[in-house]
Every structure is written in C-alpha cells, then in structure tokens.
Amino acid sequence: MNAARTKVSAAIATTTTAAAAAALFVLTGCGPAPQDPSRQIGANPDLPPQHQYLLPPMHVAKVVGWNGATPSVAAGLRVQAFATGLANPRSLYVLPNGDVLVVGTGGPPAPVRRPKELVMNWVEKMAHSRTPPGQRILLFRDTDGDGVPDQHSVFIDHLHSPFGVVLVGNDLYVANTDAVVRYPYVTGETRITEPGVTLCELPGGPIDHHWTKSLTASPDGSMLYAGVGSNSNITENGIQAEVGRASIWQIDRATGAHREYATGLRNPNGLQFEPNTHTLWAVVNERDELGPDLVPDYLTQVRDGAFYGWPYSYYGQHVDPRVQPQRPDLVAKATLPDYALSSHVAPLGLVFYSGTNLPAHYRGGAFVGEHGSWDRSVLNGYKVVYIPFADGHPSGPAEDVVTGFLVAGDQARGRPVGLAVDGNGALLIADDTGNSVWRVSASPSTSGN
C-alpha cells in the first residue's frame, strides 16, 4: 500500500514538475539580451526583430535619493543644486526677467482596466519619488546674481496636473493635463491669484495615460503648440480613447481654435523651436513591450501634416501587429523621425542651447533630458545628453553631459525630466525623483571664453 502510494505520488510529482518546468522555461526564456544603445543613436537606428513577452519586463531603479551627492558633469562644466526639497519638479520655464518657474506636478490617478494595471501602477509608484506631487508652479528668483536663487514663492497654485508653460507678451499659458489656461502676467510679479481663462481644452481623463502636455509658442507668438500623448502603450485602452491624441495640436492664440499639426507621435514632449531655422522639434517616447531594443525613442523635427506612425507602425513602415484593425494606408505615408535616442530612455525634456555661458562645444545643439527606462533589463537613459546640430539638423552622436543619476547600477538618486536655460546661460534640469533642480554652468576655469 505504501509502495503504491509512493509510486502514485512520484507519478503526480513528475507530471507537475514537468509542467512547471515547461512553464518556467517559457517564462525565463523570454526576452533577447539588450544590445549596446549606441547602435540606436542617430538617423539610422539598428532595429532588431520584435519580441513579445510572456512576463512584462519590469526593471525600475530603486529610488535612494541624493543624500548630499550631486550629478556628474562632463569636462569643463560644473553642477550646483538650484533648488532642493521640492515636490516632483517636472518642467521648467525661464521668464524674461530671469525668474525660473518650476512646475511641481503629478499625473491624475490611473484607472484600472485590467489586472495588469494593478501591478503596473504599483511598479510605477516604486519608480517615483515618495513625495506626493504638488499641483502648482513655484517661482525662484536670484537677486544677487550668483546663479542660485535666494527667493521663492508659490506662483500659481491648485492646477490640474500642469506641465507645459509659455509666455507670449503678457499672456502666460499653462498646459494643464486637460486644458491650456491663460493667466495675465506682469513682469516681476511673484504670484498670480487671478483665475485662469481656458483657451483650449485638451484630451484629459477619465483615462489619461500620457498626461504631460508640453507647450510652446511659434516664434511670432500667434500659435501655441501642445503635445498630447497617446492614451495607452499601443491602443490597449481602445482606439476610441485615442481621439485627438498622439499628436501635436496647433492652437490659435487669438481664438483658441485648434487643429492637429502632426500625428502618430506616441508621447511628444519638449516642444521647442530650433532658433536658427524656426522649425518645431520634439522628443518622442515610443512604444513598449516589443523587446529591450524596440522601439527607439527619438528627437525629430515636427513637420506640418506629417504622420509619424503610432500606433500602426514605427520608424516608417515597421508594422506593429498589436494594432487591429491595421491601416496600411496610413503606414504607407508614415514619416521617418530624424534622430533616434535609443530604446526606452524616455526623453521628456528638450532645449536648444543658444546661450554663451557653456563652453563653445555646446552651442547651437540640443540638450535632451532622459527620464530613464523601466522595462529593459539593463537600464537606459537616466541622464542628460547633448546632440550637436549643424544647419538646423543633428550632426553627430549624442554625448553624455550630466550623469550620476544612477548609482550601483540600478539605484536611482534622481531622474531628469524638463530642461531650460536660465538668464545667465546655464542649463537647468528638473529632477522629479530627486525632488531637485540642478544647474549646470561652465566650470570657473573655462567660463568667460
């Protein structure tokens, strides 16, 4: 009897083990090894075959904070803390008088449509600052000219997941996640208490997946441009949720009327006009879960009327099988982006450098703030890079300028987001996870060249 029982148990155990082993093999056998990101920098990124996972690849950097440390900068530069102890500073704007606006903000609560999102929301929480985000804009002023502010105030409070800010004349525009709102601004004022006037509503909730609405104005000030990110990774919230999204809106400043200026841009941020050619540029977060090296995020000129692929395809005509029904007609006309930044770096900040403080090497090109990957076994991004430009186009490989956001391989002291150039020509970096703003200027030995 005992022998029979043992035999039976062994048989069952073997069956279960075999099944479990098969399952484990399928699970752990998932995912090609990440390649060197440098193969995906520039105009012609190497695009490996698609890989669809069984287990969504999640690898977020554990947040450890700065604890007095500072980022590392390239030779000839120095870095200072511009502001610390903030609440999720994500974007920056420098007013003409040199006052610096710091937008402290967080996204609206994410609805749970699938069991997966319970896990994803939790993981996302792990990757961000513990500080509850503010919903306001702070103003910082440097009165003694040492580059570091000595006054600050709450500039505008009680906003709704704000991100983009732009000033045209005396009209200050704030892009909340659901509307572009106009406030009257008088040079030198440190607090605006007047209620804003809605110029144009933007796609917001109830689902508001990519909620950061980047904002800039045309050089003549007649038009505003707002980045409206997609409402999903790849249409998994339904194509109905994508109306007006994954696009850059052109908003008539006089009437508030809008049209979609360019589409197929999954999550466009850092909208900026290139100062020499007056063309609109953006950094775009491309889609996830096709492998560690798909799809590279990019920097691109945004052409009027162009379609950049999302969701149907990427980098031109590379079709995404996850989208149904497919649209070969749109895929056929998809525009190639200009400059790949490599995969999952999550670029959220862009600024063209036309100042004179930084060494000559950095003039005329673009700085990009890379928030960093969460779905790649080897982390990518978590730094600020510089891309040289010539004749209004990228002209060389991206260089690391500000690093040290990661420590011990996979712990995050901070994560760079929005960028700006201050009144003295120094580069400002919003660090939402480190709750700081960093200021990068020429090191004393190289300044004044």
Binding site: A19, R114, E236, P325
Partner: protein
C-alpha cells in the same frame, strides 16, 4: 457487504471544498474562450479586458480548489484507485498551467494579448475541461466521492460507468437510481 463512499479530506461541515469551488474556475475559463472569440471578431478591447479578469479570477479560485482536490486525491486511497480521478487531476493541473501562461499572454497589449496565442490556449483549456469536468462529475455522481453515506452492495467503484445504462426504462428500479438520500430515508 457494504462499503463507505470515498471521503473528501478537505471538507467544511461535510461539504467537500474542492467540489464546491471547482465550478468557478471552470466557468471562468469557459467564459474566457467566449470573450476571446468575441474580441477576435470585434477587436473591441472591452472583451480582451474581460478575458484578463476572468483568467485572474479563475486562477485565484484555483489556488484554493486545486490544493483541496490534490489533498483529497492523495489522502484517500480509494479515490486514487479510480481512473476518473487520475484523468480529472492530471487534466486539471494541465489546464491550470496552460491558464497561467494564458493569463500572462493576456497581459500583452491590444491584439496579440488574445490573437492568436491567447485564443488557442483558451480553446485548448476548454477542450481539456470538457473531459475533466465529465470525469469530475463521474467521481461524485457515480463513485460518490465526498458524498456522505454508505454505499450498498453492488454500487460504487465497482460499477464504473454503468449508472446511466442500468437505469430501467420500465419495471424495477435499477441500482443506479437508489440515491444516497433515498437510502438514508429508508434506513431508520
């Protein structure tokens, strides 16, 4: 000469836990095939989301139902002597493993969370469940597994599969018709 019905080891107030719970994952996994099919034909994400929830609920209840069934199986030699118990157990464990993989496939985004791999796995699981469900029914309704009471002579494990066939159309009641309830009433 009478014998006792095979006992359910994991029972609450005499009700076998496995038999109480196992219909929930069965229904969930069958419904997953339905919602997968509707998604396949409509590409309407609502249905794929429904599949993902059905799979999770089915798996969570399986976390209780499967161990309860396994303990019943290993703790009671008369159950292990029933071929139906083997088919039911191995089949259900296979369906469970496939459903775990299926739930992971359903975490993908949009179309490929269902088509083709998810849909195929959902269909394979339902085919397995048709067999294991039938065998599970046989364990209870033919072999009296977990049914409280005494099996009279000529009924039970030795009469595998004869209940339906032996049901009389006319005349004397067949052995299979003598349910436990009837017996209990007759006993006093």
């Amino acid at each position: 000469m009478s014998s006792v019905n095979p006992r359910s080891t994991v029972s609450i107030a005499g009700l076998p836990l496995h038999a109480l719970l196992v219909p929930i994952p069965f229904v969930c996994f069958v419904a997953t095939l339905v919602t997968d099919l509707v998604y396949w034909r409509t590409a309407e994400m609502l249905w794929a989301d429904a599949s993902a929830w059905l799979l999770i609920v089915g798996l969570l209840v399986s976390l209780l139902a499967v161990p309860a069934g396994m303990i019943d199986f290993f703790a009671e030699p008369p159950i292990r002597r029933l071929p139906a118990a083997w088919i039911h157990g191995i089949g259900n464990v296979t369906a469970l493993v496939l459903s775990i993989v299926n739930a992971l496939i359903h975490t993908r985004d949009a179309y490929t969370s269902v088509v083709p791999a998810g849909l195929i796995l959902s269909a394979v699981v339902v085919v397995i469940l048709l067999v294991t469900g039938w065998q599970g029914g046989a364990l209870v309704y033919r072999h009296g597994v977990g049914v409280r009471g005494v099996v009279p002579p000529g009924v039970g494990a030795r009469n595998v599969g004869t209940t339906l066939l032996s049901k009389p159309i006319l005349g004397e009641p067949g052995v299979g018709e003598r349910s436990v309830d009837t017996r209990e009433k007759q006993q006093p």
